[in-house]
């Protein structure tokens, strides 16, 4: 086998573009068996030639595989590719987005420590901190999304992490990453952005001084609704203890999934271009439709965070939330049931469009008062645009809204 050589070593006069990175970054130029694609290594364990080889591995810290929980060749390729796309030093892959954030929190927080969330952050992430980490003495504070003064005021000497999603889900609020990162820097607290809805095609939070970027790679990164994965990207030094803990806790991804993720990433830029375009066009269609009361989409000038979105984002993604005018939840459900192309289901970011009513899909068991507090309205619909033809999606929505 030839010696490994990766894209980074090319003497290109400028930095490779996003699509070049998506196709090549992180991969060895010459792979096992001269294959153009990476093999799927299913090994649970890795063998040593003799006892001395084991001792050398332990004493000299040779970079090689040992046991499947500590690492896998395919995992390393995808991690390098994701780090390159995000402009970070190190990426750590997990079995799901939740496993990724839990992996980071478990490594960073001790009893008595505090985390501060913007309150539109993914509810399962907040729930993990508020309901489960609280059992280990971690304190969770939540402040209103985009209220930077409130976040600053919530920081105490025990605060270890500031967390937000951007854009948020389903309200699509956009965080001013400069301000957010500045609070962390000034107060000596690390910052994390869940950029699942943005993707590194639209925004790269590390460039704004955020310490960690989190993705549910299940969504846009993998892009085909056929695998679960999570990833955290950041500085190598800061992530080393997180990586060690992953090896102990074992929420790793599987070799077959990793292969599908690597394959999905090859068309990452193309899919994002299409989903950005579809998102914008559908948001504009909806905002002009008489049956629509309100559209939450950062690409619309009417969106409260349009200015900050325009300043920081290349595109605004494929997720749109909208309210149906004067509709009960049942009337809203009829629209969801009438669409023919998007399928009803949770999740987002894949090539297939998905549609759901947040009240039914995620907040059905909440009290009406809680839903009101969370901004989950009876007449709210969330649409994740896939890459289907825009004419088809619009005519489908039109017939569903107008029947």
């Amino acid at each position: 086998m030839n010696s490994p050589r990766q894209l980074e070593s090319f003497s290109s006069p400028q930095k490779p573009g996003a699509s070049t990175l998506a196709v090549h970054a992180g991969e060895d130029r010459h792979k096992l068996g001269d294959s153009i694609t990476d093999p799927i290594v299913c090994a649970a364990t890795y063998t040593f030639a003799d006892t001395q080889a084991v001792i050398d591995f332990i004493e000299k810290k040779q970079p090689r595989e040992e046991y499947g929980r500590y690492g896998n060749p395919g995992e390393k390729v995808v991690e390098r590719k994701l780090a390159a796309l995000e402009g970070g030093e190190l990426a750590l892959l997990y079995s799901s987005g939740m496993a990724a954030i839990v992996g980071l929190l478990m490594a960073k927080l001790n009893a008595g420590d505090e985390v501060v969330f913007f309150d539109e952050c993914y509810h399962r992430s907040r729930e993990f901190c508020a309901k489960h980490l609280s059992r280990f003495g971690v304190v969770t504070r939540q402040v209103k999304t985009c209220d930077y003064e409130a976040m600053d005021a919530a920081v105490t000497p025990r605060t270890k992490l500031l967390i937000s999603e951007s854009p948020t889900n389903p309200h699509l609020s956009i965080i001013d990453l400069e301000k957010f990162a500045a609070i962390g820097k000034r107060r000596g607290v690390e910052t994390l952005i869940d950029a699942t809805l943005a993707t590194p095609f639209n925004v790269r939070p590390l460039e704004y001084g955020v310490d960690y970027v989190l993705h549910s790679a299940t969504k846009y990164l993998a892009g085909h609704n056929d695998l679960l994965a999570g990833v955290i990207v950041g500085a190598a030094e800061k992530l080393e203890p997180v990586k060690k803990l992953r090896g102990i806790l074992g929420a790793i991804n599987s070799p077959h999934n990793i292969f599908l993720l690597e394959r999905g990433l090859k068309t990452f830029e193309l899919r994002m271009q299409r989903q950005n375009a579809n998102g914008q066009a559908i948001a504009e269609f909806l905002v002009a439709h008489p049956r629509v009361e309100r559209v939450y989409y950062p690409g619309l000038p009417s969106h409260p965070y349009h200015e900050v979105a325009r300043r920081t984002m290349r595109g605004f993604g494929g997720l749109i939330t909208f309210l149906v005018k004067d509709a009960t939840w049942q009337q809203t459900a009829r629209i969801v049931d009438a669409v023919q192309i998007p399928r009803i289901g949770p999740s987002l970011g894949g090539v297939e469009s998905l549609i759901e009513q947040p009240l039914v899909m995620s907040y059905y068991e909440c009290t009406p008062e809680d839903r009101q507090r969370f901004g989950i309205y009876d007449n709210m619909i969330r649409l994740s645009c896939g890459i289907e033809n825009i004419e088809d999606l619009i005519s489908d929505l039109k017939q569903a809204l107008e029947q």
């Binding site: 070049t20 196709v23 090549h24 153009i36 193309l270 899919r271 297939e352």
Partner: protein
């Protein structure tokens, strides 16, 4: 849901991926079973034995048939298995006319395998319909076309050729691997059968081998299905799934790759060390006007250039790119480079190579999804080094 009136990209995502009725899975499961339990002795369900049919393969066959606008599709183990299936429609003594700018493997099949079954072959420059008409014989039963051709990217008028063949009573099969249904749908132009090496653009990620056939009628589909089932070169379930998955981004990939190919063709044409650029998107390409009409505004992502210099010079260039990888095959997200004379068309006899314009200085590029600037810089350093 009826998808027939939907757009190309919508169908590419939804036709081969029906919602799983049992679990609601948005992506259908991969069925690995070799056999299927039947409702009763002598009563047959939709699937019985995996060679005869498999749900995962069926999904792939349905989406390809939809994109090509045909009656039904068949997925086979490789492009050559698909081509061979078509030639098995013929009988001893039948005659085949094929284009002269075709894949080397097809040339080999026709000249070194089919000849043993008593089939005779004439290759003709199909860019000239008059020459095609002159090549037809009383026993001509099959016309085999490729457009764009390989490796010279010649453009054949599929509708005109189909008419000539049909008048002579021959079937028309088109290898649509290079054009893909994004650019050209041969059945709409009169062809009877479309063939694909789905290894290329349909799969699109260099990680699966496959072939496909789409027939324009029930009768022809059933004859081809009979051969597929009887000879057994079927597509495996995993590979069927990967190709179906690849097809979901077919249109966006092919359009983007074609745009990059166009820009590379324009760059290379102005390069002092390049003798000639063969790309149907260039106005001076002999097939440009026809391609503009027949290819739906997309000129494909294959590009052949002839460098100033000999066999050794072309070989050196092909070996010194850093982003373009030296390999046969094409159509994937990774850009590839190769020298037809020593690689993709090495299975031609040397005299036949010369006769069909596969000169030593030719270099064939399969333009992938990388950024244009990166690919241009890579070609520049390879061409300009001494």
């Amino acid at each position: 849901m009826n998808h027939t009136d939907r757009g190309f990209r919508t169908r590419s995502i939804h036709v081969g991926s029906p919602r799983d009725p049992r679990t609601g899975a948005v992506v259908p499961p991969i069925y690995l079973a070799s056999t299927y339990v039947q409702p009763g002795a002598g009563e047959w369900g939709e699937f019985d034995y995996a060679r005869s049919g498999n749900p995962t393969r069926k999904n792939l066959e349905n989406v390809i048939a939809s994109l090509e606008g045909g009656y039904g599709g068949l997925a086979l183990a490789s492009g050559m298995a698909a081509t061979h299936t078509v030639t098995m429609l013929l009988s001893h003594g039948d005659h085949i006319v094929a284009g002269s700018d075709i894949y080397g493997g097809t040339y080999r099949l026709l000249h070194k395998i089919c000849d043993r079954a008593g089939l005779t072959v004439t290759l003709v420059d199909t860019t000239d319909p008059a020459r095609l008409a002159a090549a037809m014989q009383p026993r001509t039963r099959l016309l085999w076309l490729e457009s764009p051709g390989n490796p010279r990217l010649s453009i054949t008028d599929l509708a005109a050729c189909a008419e000539i063949a049909h008048r002579a009573g021959a079937l028309v099969a088109v290898d649509n691997t290079f054009a893909t249904p994004v650019a050209t749908r041969p059945l709409e132009l009169g062809a009877d059968i479309v063939m694909h090496s789905s290894t290329k653009y349909l799969g699109g990620h260099s990680d699966v081998l496959g072939g496909a056939l789409v027939a324009n009628s029930k009768e022809l589909y059933e004859r081809l299905y009979f051969i597929q089932n009887a000879t057994g070169a079927v597509q495996a379930p995993w590979d069927s799934y990967l190709i179906t998955r690849g097809i979901k981004t077919l249109s966006v990939r092919v359009r983007e790759q074609s745009l990059t190919a166009m820009r590379l063709a324009e760059y290379l044409r102005g390069h002092p060390r390049v003798q000639q650029v063969l790309y149907p998107g260039l106005p001076d390409h002999p097939g440009h006007r026809l391609a503009a009409r027949q290819m739906n505004g997309v000129f494909g992502a294959m590009l052949t250039l002839e460098i100033k210099g000999d066999y050794a010079r072309a070989k050196t260039i092909a070996e010194s790119t850093k982003l373009f990888q030296l390999a046969v095959s094409l159509g994937a997200v990774e850009s590839l480079i190769e020298q037809p004379a020593s690689m993709s068309h090495a299975s031609y006899d040397p005299q036949a190579r010369t006769a069909h314009g596969i000169t030593d200085g030719l270099i064939r590029l399969s333009v992938g999804l990388e950024d244009f600037e990166d690919l241009r810089d890579d070609l520049r350093q390879a061409i300009e080094q001494d």
